[in-house]
Symmetry: D2
Subunit: 348 residues, 4 copies
C-alpha cells in the first residue's frame, strides 16, 4: 500500500506531528486528489495551538490529519463521480453537506444542519493526498498556479461577505485586515465601490489593506476615535456597508454605529464570546440590515470567485507572502504566530 | 379665535393637563384635521409617566400637546396641498420627514435623518384638532369607523415587521403580545403562515394572541424553557421567521437561537439598554438575517395595511378594548398602567 | 421476474397501449415506488393525441411508459439512497437534473441544462411501479391520501408562479382556470391577496375559479373587453400582479397591459408559437417585471406546497373531479378531451 | 422683463426656431437655472425631425421650448424650496412626478402615472434659463465641468439599466452602442463584470464600445450570425445578463435567446412597433427574468451616477464628441442626423 507524508494532530496540546500514512482510497462518490499546494488558515492555527475552541470542537476527533485549503490534481475517481475527471485541477469546498436537510434542499448547503468540515471533522489537506466527495471538488482553471489557487478559499469567504448586498457606488468600511479582509478590500474596489475604508490595529496589516486598494485607512490604536474617523471620511453621513472580518466586539459596534440609516452589515468575524450590543439605538431605530456570513455559497460564491480570478481583476498572488515545503510546516505556523505576512502556502 | 380641548404635557413629572387652546391654522402644505378618534400608544405612556426615556427625548419640548394615533376629517387645506381634500377621512403617518436627505431621496423616508415625530417633536393628536403636512395625511376608506381607523398605526408597525420578508408557508415565532404583537399574529395567519407561535409572560396578553390566531402559545413564566417549547413545536428544526415585538433581551436571544439556519429576524422591539448577544453562535455560524424595523414604510406599508383592512382579513375592531371621551383620558392611562386590555381609544 | 400493468406510448399516432412489463430494478441512487395514485397532466394529453409538439419532443423515445404525476410508497431503495426510506409515501419531482451544470450548482436545478423529464425522457408513472432517483423523491405527509398527493405537482407549479413575488395585500389577475390556474387562485387568497380576478373563456372552468376563491371572474367571450373589465375592477389603476396560466397570446397581452406601472408578470403558460408583443408601451415605458416560470424550485416550492397542504389552507381534494382504475385510463383521457372536470386520478 | 435666447419647436414639421423669450419666473417650489451646458438626446432628434412619434406625443404642445439634458447654476429659488440653494450647480431629473399616485408613494416616482417630461410636456433646457421644481434639481459636484455634467442624464439611464441586477463577475451582452450603450459598457467593467460583449451594426459606434471597455465586439452586419458569435464568446453557456439599448426587435430576440437559463434581460430600448417574441422557448422554459427600464430611479440612480463620476471610475468627458454654441444648435442636429459622434453639447 502506498504511503504519503501527512500532518497529524495527535495529542491534546500545542503542536503537530509529521508522519507517513497510507494513501486513502476514494469511495464511489469521491475523488483522490494529489495535493500540489495547501495553505494555513486561522482555524488551523487554533488547532495547532489547541486553544479552548479547538479542545471543544476537535477534542473527540484526534488523531487525524488537519488542513483544508488546497489545490491539487485528481488522480482517481469513484464510479459515480460526475462533473470532474482525472487530470482536473481542483480545490475543495470544505463544507461537506448532507444533501437532504431543509437548508441543503433550498439552496443553502453552506449552512447544512449536518455539515462536516474538511480537516476539522474529517481527514484534511495537510498531506500528499486526500479524498473528497465529487460534489465538493471545484475544478480550477489550469492557468492559475496551484500555489495561488489554494488561496481561493479565503477569497471565497470575502466574495460571500462582500456580495451579500450591493457594492457598486457604495462607501464601505472593512474591519480586520487579515487575508479575508484584504481580499474584501480588493473585491469592493474591483466591483465599483466609491470609497473603501480599512480599519485594523496592526500597522503591517493596515498597510496590506492599503496595497489591496483601500482609499482610507484607520489605525485603531488605543485612544483613536475610530467612529469619528469614519464619520469624517463619509462627510458625516456614515457608510453604506460595513464588513466585519476582525472578530472583535469593538469592531462590530463601531461598524454598526457608523452605518447610514438603512445600511448593510455583513458579519463573518468570529468573536471569542457574547458581548453587549445596543440593539435599539444602533439597529432598530436606524433600520439596519445585518447578516451572519458562513462559508461560501455553494456554488454561486465559487463562480464569482472564479470570474474575478479569470478576469485578472483580483491579484491573489500578492496574498501569498510565504511558501514552504510541506515538511517545513512548523515554519509556517511560526510566521502566523508572530502575525507576520498574510497567506502561508505549503507544497509537498 | 376658536378654542379646542387639548391634552398637554406641561410639567416634568408624571401626569398630564387638560386645557383649552386655540385651534391651529394650517400652513400652505398642511391640512387641518378635526379629530374624531385618537388612541394611546406605549410611547404616550412613557411620556405620561415621564420616565427616563421621556425626560431625555422630550425634556426640551414641554409644554406641548402629545398623542399621535388618530383618525379624523379634513376641514381645511393649505393652498399647495395635493392628493387630499376637505371632507376626506385621514390618519397620520407620524414620521414627518425632511424630504431631501439621502434616505428620503431613496425610498426610506421612515428613517429620515432629520425626522420629526408627531406628538413627540410637534403638537400632536390628543386634541379636537391638529395640523399635519399633506404628505403625512393618509386618506382612509370611509367605511372604516374612526375609532377603528385610529388603531391603524400600530397595525402598520406590524405590517412593516411581518412583511420584512416571506410569510406564506412559514413557521413564525412572535414574541410580545401587545397591540403590535397580536396584529402581527393575525397578519401572519392572513398571509398564509403555516404555524404561528406566540410568546409572552402575561396570561391575558397571551390569550389575546390566541384569539388573534396563534396556533401555539408559550407562556414565558419563570422556569419555563421557552427554547425547548419552540424547538418541540417545530419538530426540532426551529422557526423560519422570528418577530421581536417584546423589547426584552431574553426574547431577542431566545428568538434568534430558535431560528433555523438562514432564518429571518425582524426586530421592532425597543430595549431599555444594551445587552449581551452571542453573535458568533447565534448569528454568524447559522447565517441569520436580521433587520431593525422602525415606523412604517412610506407608503408601501400603508397600502398593505389598507388592503388588509378593506378585504376584511384583519378585524381591527377587537383590538379596541376600551373607548372613553377625550376628557376622560386619565381613565385610559389607568387601564394601560395596569396592563389591562389592548388599545384604548379616545373620542372628543 | 415480477410483472406490472403499465401504459405505453408505442406507436407514432393518437392513443396508448396497456401491457404487462417487468417491474424495474432501482439503481444505487434510486428508489422503487409502488404507485398508489397517478394523474393525467396536460402534457400527457399532448402525448396521447400525438400532436406536433409530442412528435417533435418525444418522437425518438417511443416505445416507453408515460405519465409523471404520482403518489406511492417506497418498496425498495438503492444502497446510496439518503433522506428517504422504504415505507415512505413519496411523490416525484419530475425534473431529473444533472447536478453539475451552472444552474444545478447555483440553486436553479429546475432549469438544468441537461434536464430529463420523468415520463417524457424516461419511463414514467402510468404503471404499478416506477424507479426514481432519491434526489427526486419528495416524502409526503402520510395524512394526505395518495389520490390527493398525486395532484401536488400542478399545485407546485401554481406555488412557483404565485410566489415568484409578493402576494399579501395585492390585486392579482389570473388568466386560465385549468388545474394550475384554480390552484393559483386558492393560493393567492390563502396568502392574503386583497383581490383575485380570474379570467377564462370557458364557463365551467370559470366556475371552478369562483369556487376556489376568485373575488371577480371575467368571462373572456368574443366581444368582451377584458381589459376594460379588469381596469374597472381595479378602479382604473390596474393589477399589481398578473399570472399567465392560459398559454394564450391574447391573455399574455391583456394581462400585461392591465398591470400597474411597476407590476409583476409571472408567465407559466406555454404558447403554441411566437406572437406579437408591444414591448415598448406595455413593458418598457411602464417598468414591468416579467419572469418565465418553469417547473418547481427544488425544493423551496415543495416545502411551501407541503406547508399549504399540511395547514389545511389549500383543499386539493376538490381539484380531483374524476377517479378511475389505472386500467380504465382511456376513460380519463376522454374526460380531458371534452374539457370536463379538472384533475383525473388513476389508481392501480 | 429680461430676455433670453431659446430654441422653439413652433411648426408641425422638421426644424426648429431660435428666438428671444422672457426669462421665466420660478414658482414657490421651483428654482431658476442659468443654463451653462445642454445636450441633445435622441428624443430631441425625434422632435426636430417631427416623425410619427413626435407628432403623436408632442403635437398639442407646440409652440414650446424643447431640450432636457442640462447643467447650470441656480440663480433664484422659490420660497418653499428645500435642499438646493442659489449658487448650486444642478442638473435636471426630467421626470416631473405628481408626488401622490401609488407609484410616487411607493418609491417608484420614475413611473408616476401623471408624469410630465421636461422639454416634452413643459418648456425645456434649450435656452439660457429654465425653471425646475426643486424636487427635480440634482446638485452636482462643482468639480465636474458643466459640459460634462449635462451628459449625466444618459449615464443615469445606463446606471438604471446596468444595476437592475447583479453585475460583478457576470458575462454581459450590451446591444446598441449609442451614448447610453457605451456608458453601460463602461459601467459594467467598472462594476466588476467578467466579460462585456458589445453588439452594434455601425462600425464607428462599435469602436466607441471598444474604447469604453468592451472585451468582445460583434459587428451585426447582414449575414453575421450574432447568436453564434455570442455563444462562442461564452463557451456555449450564454450570457448572464442582457442589456437592450438598441431598440431593435432583432437585438431583443438575439439577446434573450443567448441568455443562460435563469438570466436577466433589462430592456431600455424603444422599439418602433410591436414585434414577434418566442415567449415559450426563449422566456418561459428557460426561466428568464426581464424588466422594462424607464428613466432613472429617483434618486437612487443619481446617487450611484454621482459616485461613479466622483470616484473617476467613469470618464464621461470622452462621451462628448462635439461642442457648439447654443445658437449653433442646427450644427448639432446635423451631426446626429449623420450618426456621427456620441454626445453633442451646446453652451449658451
Amino acid at each position: 500500500m502506498e504511503k504519503m507524508l501527512s500532518v497529524w494532530k495527535t495529542h491534546p496540546k500545542e503542536g503537530l506531528e509529521l508522519k507517513d500514512a497510507p494513501v486513502p482510497d476514494p469511495k464511489d462518490d469521491e475523488v483522490l486528489i494529489q495535493v500540489k499546494a495547501t495553505s494555513i488558515c486561522g482555524t488551523d492555527l487554533h488547532i495547532y495551538k489547541w486553544d479552548e475552541w479547538a479542545q471543544k470542537r476537535i477534542g473527540k476527533n484526534i488523531p487525524y490529519i488537519f488542513g483544508h485549503e488546497v489545490s491539487g490534481e485528481v488522480v482517481k475517481a469513484g464510479k459515480s463521480v460526475k462533473g470532474v475527471s482525472v487530470g482536473d485541477h481542483v480545490s475543495a469546498e470544505t463544507h461537506i453537506s448532507c444533501g437532504y436537510c431543509y437548508q441543503c434542499k433550498t439552496g443553502n448547503e453552506h449552512i447544512c444542519q449536518n455539515v462536516k468540515i474538511l480537516g476539522v471533522d474529517t481527514n484534511g489537506a495537510f498531506a500528499e493526498y486526500l479524498t473528497l466527495p465529487y460534489r465538493n471538488s471545484w475544478v480550477n482553471d489550469k492557468k492559475i498556479p496551484h500555489w495561488v489557487a489554494t488561496a481561493q478559499e479565503p477569497l471565497g469567504n470575502a466574495v460571500h461577505t462582500v456580495f451579500d448586498g450591493e457594492v457598486a457606488g457604495k462607501t464601505i468600511t472593512v474591519f480586520g485586515m487579515g487575508p479575508i479582509g484584504v481580499c474584501a478590500v480588493a473585491l469592493c474596489k474591483a466591483a465599483g465601490a466609491e470609497k473603501v475604508i480599512a480599519i485594523d490595529n496592526h500597522e503591517g496589516r493596515l498597510k496590506f489593506g492599503k496595497d489591496f486598494g483601500a482609499d482610507v485607512t484607520v489605525m485603531a490604536s488605543d485612544g483613536v476615535d475610530v467612529r469619528k474617523e469614519i464619520m469624517d471620511a463619509t462627510n458625516g453621513l456614515g457608510a453604506d456597508v460595513f464588513l466585519e472580518l476582525a472578530g472583535a466586539p469593538k469592531a462590530f459596534n463601531d461598524g454598526i454605529a457608523t452605518l447610514r440609516p438603512g445600511g448593510r452589515a455583513s458579519i463573518l468575524g468570529v468573536f471569542p464570546k457574547p458581548f453587549e450590543v445596543d440593539v435599539t439605538n444602533d439597529i432598530v431605530f436606524r433600520g439596519i440590515r445585518l447578516s451572519g456570513i458562513n462559508g461560501r455559497k455553494m456554488y454561486d460564491t465559487w463562480y464569482k470567485t472564479q470570474a474575478f480570478l479569470r478576469s485578472g481583476k483580483i491579484n491573489l498572488e500578492k496574498l501569498v507572502t510565504h511558501r514552504f515545503k510541506l515538511s517545513e510546516i512548523e515554519k509556517g505556523f511560526d510566521v502566523l504566530k508572530r502575525r507576520e505576512g498574510m497567506k502561508v502556502v505549503l507544497e509537498p
